[in-house]
């Protein structure tokens, strides 16, 4: 191992990253895009989102409020419900994203106390749409409030404020234990890191094969270890920067509370980056076309991170066999650590198991990667 050769490899690789539009796009644009896509929901505008209405009072006032929900164009009222059980069923069956429940004594309460509530329940499995729907419903209710005030002022000849407050109470989130934004977004970071890390390195060796520079490189005294480190280290820096950006977005943009220890987060992120970069590198060594390598990297990282890491489907609700399989799905350890740090203020000690899992994986992958590359053409 020669520091001189290692440095030459690293420097060359860094220059190539900076000059390759594809690598740069993956390194810089992809994390932001993915964060937006996965963290925010695919569409921000909603149109004809199906909602159900359970109008218990069914008076002229309540009917006019319901017609407002319909008129705005954002929602389509798919079902009129007649029982609380019907509400639950409609959401569970996926017939609507939200259900609006107007209590039986709505008008009476409003008249006697000047304030009344409409309840809205949302489907938490589609947290993004639900969030947006909630905002729009709130807007419609505010419009109704403003109208009531105007009418009241006209009737009484005085300017009113705080009259006829109707409230949208988004208290109930069905399926909340299954999913919530705070729960999901830390997992999103793991998914993005896995994707980007493996994508980046999957290109680096296959690019040299494709362009013919590999033949020249392996005719030199550079060693397999120097090639590996020279390629992984620059991408490790890129990966850590991406991780920092994603984690910062999680905290400052998506308002996910950060309760844990920064150093633990750094250690876990570094280990996870090593694993995914190493996997991408191994693929790149074996597959001599950039396109094929990046597609295989996508497959190898996307499937386990999205399906088996517990990022969307909680591991403890999976069948036992699948639970056992997740033990070798390295992202589960990182997802667990991220959730622990973000949501539960877990300490290094609390997280020793998943951390150990990552350490084992990092050692294994780096060891395998260091043996993957042979300085031969055949």
């Amino acid at each position: 191992m020669s520091p001189r050769r290692l440095f030459a490899m690293m420097y060359k690789e860094a220059l190539q990253i900076l000059r390759d539009p594809r690598s740069l796009a993956i390194a810089l644009v992809m994390p932001l895009m993915q964060m937006g896509l996965l963290g925010y929901g695919v569409s921000l505008d909603i149109k004809h989102v199906p909602i159900c209405v359970y109008d218990q009072e069914n008076s002229q006032l309540t009917r006019s409020i319901v017609s407002r929900f319909d008129a705005a164009g954002w929602f389509s009222i798919d079902r009129r419900l007649h029982s609380q059980a019907g509400v639950r069923h409609a959401i569970d069956a996926g017939e609507c994203i939200a259900a609006v429940v107007i209590p039986v004594d709505f008008s009476r309460t409003l008249a006697s106390t000047g304030a009344a509530s409409i309840q809205a329940v949302f489907d938490a499995t589609d947290v993004n749409t639900s969030n947006i729907a909630q905002g729009y419903l709130q807007g419609i209710v505010a419009g109704v409030n403003a109208e009531i005030e105007t009418r009241w002022s006209a009737a009484h000849g005085v300017r009113a404020s705080g009259v006829g407050r109707i409230d949208l109470q988004p208290g109930t989130w069905f399926n909340e234990t299954l999913d919530s934004r705070n729960f999901i977004i830390p997992g999103v970071v793991a998914v993005i890191l896995a994707l980007i890390g493996a994508q980046l390195t999957s290109l680096t060796v296959s690019r040299e094969w494709e362009r013919g520079t590999m033949e020249q490189l392996i005719s030199t005294p550079v060693t397999a270890l120097e090639v590996m480190l020279g390629k992984l280290i620059p991408y490790f820096v890129v990966g850590m920067i991406d991780a920092a950006v994603c984690l910062a977005l999680t905290v400052f943009w998506f308002d996910v509370p950060f309760r844990g220890n920064l150093l633990t987060l750094f250690a876990a992120t570094a280990l996870f980056s090593l694993v995914v970069l190493g996997i991408g590198y191994m693929i790149s060594v074996r597959i001599r076309s950039q396109l094929a390598a990046s597609q295989i990297a996508l497959l190898v990282t996307l499937l386990p991170t999205t399906l088996l890491s517990g990022y969307t489907f909680p591991i403890d609700q999976m069948p036992r066999v699948i639970q056992a399989i997740t033990l070798i799905v390295y992202p589960r350890y990182y997802v667990t650590i991220l959730r622990g740090i973000f949501l539960k203020a877990s300490t290094l000690f609390d997280l020793w198991q998943p951390l150990l899992g990552l350490v084992v994986f990092a050692i294994l992958i780096v060891w395998l990667a260091s043996r993957a590359f042979h300085k031969r053409l055949d």
């Binding site: 001189r4 013919g212 033949e215 053409l377």
Partner: protein, 324 residues
């Protein structure tokens, strides 16, 4: 007229290959190639596409593992001392293989680092490489934008930054315009003058003349080696005569099956005849033809081109293969 048998060269030879063989599946790409290159010699490796030139060179560089045989380069065994071999060779692969997205200077700096050129010498060697390639003032140009000849000379510059005693150049002049090709050969000779041993493959037959020695390879087999002069003298296995005579058809007919006449072929408005050396002289030939009513204008011994020799050897190889 075959490769020198093992043992004739000096133990000190820069490149020694013995029975190098490479099979890809059932196909034998290189078949028991044995050759030696003395220090400071420029050896041309000549053969058509697919003959096995690149595969042989790759085995000598340690890039491809031989199926059989062994080789040593610069005194190191290619199989067991591949790291040492790599420290002592410069290699230019057939496909251009510098980093196109890096500049001239960045490429040179990269290879200087990889070859651990002493820091104090880097500036001087880089200046030399740049001027050798004729790229003064272009140090910050991306290599991908350079024209073919410059690219090839820069690749050579990168391959010799560490002053390797042995150079393997795989078709370095292919696709390069003639003027640039000549310049490239001048560089090779400059290096040879400094004691660098070079094995350079080409499919341009005329470039064979620039080499001290050439090795002809066809379908994986080394079919001849020697200096260009030797090959032209002996390569046909007899003496070549050039005849002005008419009618050509009748002359060809007359020579067919005559003992001592190895080959006869119409060559433009002349007849080329290869006769067993000593078996038939000019006088015999003239008499024979006149006896058959052919008017003989002139008849004189001629030197074949290397292309003639190559074609002859390939044809002979085919015959013996067909028979045996």
């Amino acid at each position: 007229m075959s490769a020198p048998p093992p043992g004739t060269g000096s133990a000190d030879d820069a490149v020694i290959a013995e029975g190098l063989t490479k099979r890809f599946g059932a196909f034998t790409a290189v078949d028991r190639v044995t050759l030696r290159i003395a220090r400071g010699e420029v050896m041309g490796f000549i053969g058509p596409n697919g003959a096995g030139k690149s595969t042989t060179i790759r085995m000598l560089c340690g890039l491809v593992e031989p199926s059989e045989g062994r080789a040593s380069v610069a005194g190191f065994d290619v199989g067991s001392q591949s790291q040492a071999v790599r420290e002592h060779i410069g290699y230019m692969s057939q496909k251009f293989s510098l980093y196109g997205d890096l500049t001239v200077r960045e490429n040179l700096r990269f290879f200087a680092g990889i070859y651990r050129v002493p820091a104090g010498e880097f500036a001087g060697r880089m200046r030399y490489a740049v001027s050798m390639a004729g790229l003064e003032g272009q140090e910050n140009t991306r290599v991908a934008t350079l024209a073919g000849g410059w690219k090839q000379r820069l690749a050579l510059g990168c391959a010799i930054l560490h002053h390797p005693p042995v150079l393997f150049l795989d078709e370095p002049t292919s696709g390069v315009e003639p003027e640039a090709r000549r310049r490239f050969w001048d560089l090779i000779h400059d290096l040879a003058a400094n004691g660098v041993t070079t094995l350079v493959s080409t499919h341009y037959m005329e470039e064979a003349e620039y080499c001290n020695r050439i090795a002809l390879i066809d379908r994986g087999k080394l079919i001849a080696s020697g200096s260009p002069g030797e090959l032209r003298q002996r390569g046909l296995g007899g003496v070549l005569y050039e005849l002005e005579c008419s009618p050509l058809g009748a002359a060809l007919e007359a020579l067919r099956g005559v003992p001592g006449i190895l080959e006869a072929a119409i060559f433009g408005d002349r007849l080329h005849v290869v006769a067993d050396s000593g078996a038939a002289g000019t006088a015999d030939l003239t008499g024979l033809l006149r006896g058959r009513g052919v008017a003989v204008g002139s008849i004189r011994p001629a030197l074949p081109t290397l292309e003639d020799v190559f074609v002859h050897l390939v044809a002979r190889g085919l015959e013996t293969r067909a028979v045996g």
